[in-house]
Structure formats: structure tokens, C-alpha cells
Symmetry: C2
Subunit: 200 residues, 2 copies
């Protein structure tokens, strides 16, 4: 009898939950491209962005990726997605910490930002991933107002994802969806080496 | 002169940061598979998991996906990844909220968990994504101790990702890396409809 009562209670709870969710779905009817910011100090921000690109490509949509930092690394996602005609624009100097040359980095950032602006103006592009652009904004390599302008004026059905720590307040304000990835704990801090195919 | 001084300060700051990071990299030398939990109420947990699968596949590794909830939906990631020989085990009843039948759901969960256990015992498998298994544990469809046991006893170099809200404390404890995705804001709450290729 208790088992049966539990089952009924469970069913009632689930029914209530379902009604709430169905109501929310019914209320959400605006069709438009979504601007999402994925920020915070935890692992999985770029990964999440690449996951959306994989999803879009799986539905036959056009996606473009602009990599502002990790682009010159051996990149599993790029290996896969380039096979599916996802175009990558990659910042030429690679990881800023390795180069430490502010002028060269600024030029490289501005150069790849030109590519990003082309994607953001092209209505045949369904999804643009601006991977780790937040750092370019924090370092003043790229002007935040220019980024805001380009995202605001993009084609109506185009979606945009910005990833990276410390997203600028203006980007957060403009975004439709903001996720913050928090680092609860990390294998790296326990002395475990970054694993190819998992961490990069 | 100020511009030059700024550049030098920037360089010094970056040098310090680089030394710290290099030291951490030098200290992290343990080679092993990583167990990661991606939890929290924000958007992008499964997406992040699928991003790691895409990365692994891009490096030619063997990955398996077990989907405990969203499996019967039209799924962009699956469309893409199945083209690259990623095997999916999918829970048969689909989304629990739609079925609301505790007995059927429990059976379906236990059935797909058998598949998951096979992957977790197979050392030709480099990565296993247990997508949304946390709900199965919360609802007591699958025993948490059994999940812990299978993950503990997996092949040494195999990595595992668990996604879903409200990850059980024992999963968090066992994990090498835990990320919590927080919902800062969500397009859905502003009345924007979920977009194919972006949200699913």
C-alpha cells in the first residue's frame, strides 16, 4: 500500500511540474536568434559553446567559430567540425600568455575581429561562436562598444555565443541567456595532468 | 611614454601569471582518466558534455553516450556524432515528465543503466557520457551506490562525465572535476521560444 501511495504521490508531483513547464513553454513564443554568454571561472565554457555548434551542424545549420585564444593548439573540436564545413577564424598569435606582446596581440585580435564582424553581418550564418572574446575585451584589445554594436545589428534569426571569464557588464546586459560556470573542484589542482581528448 | 609604461606593466603582469600557470602544469603529472560532474540549474550542462565527446572524437578516441532523459527528442548532437561511430544508448520512455509512470520509468532507467555498465567496464572505451543520470539517482530509479561502484572500478584511463541538476553528494565527492552551471538569466523566461539547432 505504501509503495502504491508513493507512486501516486510521485505522479501528482510530476503532473504539477509538467503543468508549470507546459505553461512556460506556451508563454515562450517569440522566434528570434539567441545571444548567450557563458562565463565564470569553471571548466566547460568553450566546450559548451562547441557543443551548441555540434548541435547546430547536426541539424544542418551554418555555424562559424572565431577562436580568440586557444586556436593554435591541437583542437579536437576543430578536427571534427571542420569535416562538417564549419569555418574557423583563428587569432594568429595563439595563447596570449605565451606571446606577451601587447602590440602584436592587439593587432592579431583586431584582425580576427574583422572576420567575426563579417559573420555577424551575414544572414546565411545561423550561429556564431566567439570563443574567449571576453579576454580581448578585458585587455582592451577590442572595443566593447564595437562588439555590442555588431551583435545588436546581426540578422534577426542568427544566434551568437560568447565564452570566457569575466564577461563585460554590457555583454551580460545585452544577452538573452547568461550561464556562469563555477569551479567547484578541478582535477588539475589534485595533480592530474590535462588529458588529450578530454581537456583539449 | 604612458603607453610604453602600460605595455611594460602588462608584460610584467602576464609574465607572473604565466609563471604561476607553468608551475601548476609542471606539478600536474598524474596520467589517469578523469571523472567530471557538470551540475547546477543553468543552461549548457549536457551541451558541455557533448562538447567533450566531440573533442574526443576529433582526436580519434572512442566515446559512448548514455542518454537518460532527452534521448527520444530530435537531437542535433546525436545526428552529428552517430556519423562518427559514437554509440548512443537511449532510455526508452523519453522524457519522464511526459510519461509520469514511475514503474515504467524505473524499468527503462535500469535497462539503459545495464548498457552504461558495459561501457564502464570496457577498456576500449575512452570516454563515457552519462547524460542526465543525476535525475535517475534523485528519483531512486538507479541506486547511487551502484553508480559509484561502476565509476570507481572503470578502466584507469577511461574518462566519465555525469551531467544533470542536483548531483548526489557521493558523486560530487568521487569526482575529480566538478563544474556548477548557474542560471544568471535565460531567454525562455523572457518569452523567447527554444530554437532548433541552438536549444536542442
Amino acid at each position: 500500500m505504501t509503495e502504491r501511495k508513493n507512486t501516486e504521490q510521485h505522479k501528482a508531483r510530476q503532473q504539477k511540474l509538467k503543468e508549470k513547464v507546459d505553461q512556460k513553454i506556451a508563454n515562450a513564443q517569440t522566434e528570434q536568434g539567441i545571444f548567450q554568454v557563458i562565463t565564470g571561472n569553471g571548466k566547460g565554457k568553450s566546450t559548451s559553446g562547441f557543443g551548441v555548434v555540434a548541435r547546430a551542424v547536426g541539424h544542418g545549420l551554418q555555424a562559424k567559430v572565431v577562436q580568440f585564444i586557444k586556436g593554435t593548439w591541437d583542437c579536437g573540436e576543430r578536427n571534427l567540425l571542420e569535416q562538417h564545413n564549419v569555418e574557423f577564424a583563428v587569432m594568429k598569435t595563439g595563447f596570449t600568455w605565451e606571446t606577451q606582446d601587447r602590440e602584436a596581440d592587439t593587432l592579431a585580435a583586431k584582425l580576427v575581429w574583422q572576420e567575426a564582424k563579417k559573420y555577424l553581418a551575414d544572414d546565411s550564418v545561423d550561429l556564431v561562436l566567439l570563443d574567449e572574446i571576453t579576454y580581448m575585451v578585458s585587455y582592451h584589445y577590442i572595443d566593447v562598444e564595437e562588439v555590442i554594436e555588431a551583435i545588436k545589428n546581426r540578422p534577426a534569426m542568427q544566434s551568437v555565443i560568447v565564452t570566457g571569464r569575466g564577461a563585460h557588464r554590457l555583454l551580460i546586459e545585452l544577452a538573452d541567456t547568461v550561464s556562469e560556470v563555477k569551479n567547484v573542484k578541478h582535477a588539475f589542482d589534485a595533480g592530474i595532468k590535462a588529458q588529450r581528448g578530454f581537456d583539449y
